[in-house]
Amino acid sequence: MTDIGKVRIRIPSGIKAGDVVRARVLVLHPMEIVERRAGKPVDKNYLFVNRVVVSYAGREIGLFDLTQSVSENPFLSFAFRATEPGQLKVTFLDTHGGKYEGTADVKFG
């Protein structure tokens, strides 16, 4: 698990101002699921990404809440309107206080 929290983010190339663009993001994370012993869920601090913040050019444009029903190494895709050159930043927060960021630069050709 040394790679935990590694974020890959992809946006298409050749974006023009005003385009609606789909970004694809992946974070390496175990997304630990609830353990059961004798049918009873075990209470402990399960390690999974529960919150994702998407910001573009310094403004928050999306806020996602995930659960353990999202696969290991969560993949996410979402859209944004490329209105200006700037940074697209995706921040993953996990239940153990981990914070993992990925960025992509939005530029117009």
């Binding site: 609830v34 996602f64 353990q68 696969s71 944004f80 239940t95």
Partner: protein
């Protein structure tokens, strides 16, 4: 989630739980609020509840009417998912995404998962398009619903049936 108003939450678990809830006062569920400082967000009490899907819908949307959104919502899922641990899903809702009319939230709910509320995507007009995609874990063959909450409060729902060959312990 009733401990929020309980004046005597003395056990360690209850304390940790209420610490997580503080930031979310007034919101629907503890995991909706700002990231709490305590490191106990993954404890059972802070997870989305284990409940039948009807209870989930009631908890999230109260008695509000949910309209059929099958014409506005494009819900893409495999018909047969060989591996329940990784089931790709994408949801697109037809919307102008202007500040006057946009999709505020997309919920992904799987009926047969122990904890049916799987993911919530809060969008803004800057999203440009109400589109989200991810990979789900599905415990068994189930209906998967996408519910879109529009900026005027309308709820739209689309549903698809997925056959799961090998369950993926859907949490």
């Amino acid at each position: 989630m009733n401990d929020r108003t309980d004046p005597t939450p003395l056990s360690r678990r209850a304390l940790l739980k209420s610490a997580g809830v503080l930031g979310a006062a007034g919101l629907l569920a503890p995991w909706l609020g700002a990231p709490p400082p305590a490191l106990a967000q993954g404890n059972l009490g802070n997870l989305v509840p284990e409940e039948p899907v009807d209870a989930t819908l009631k908890r999230l949307f109260g008695g509000r009417p949910i309209k059929d959104g099958s014409s506005a919502i494009t819900l893409e899922l495999p018909i047969i998912a060989e591996n329940g641990a990784l089931v790709p899903i994408s949801v697109e809702v037809a919307s102008p995404m202007t500040p006057q009319s946009y999709v505020k939230t997309i919920y992904v709910i799987s009926d047969k998962n122990r904890r049916p509320m799987n993911a919530r995507f809060n969008l803004t007009p800057a999203s440009g398009q109400a589109f989200v995609a991810t990979n789900l874990r599905l415990g068994e063959s189930t209906d998967v619903r996408a519910v879109a909450e529009l900026s005027d409060g309308t709820l739209l729902m689309a549903k698809r049936d997925v056959k799961v060959t090998i369950g993926g312990c859907g949490g």
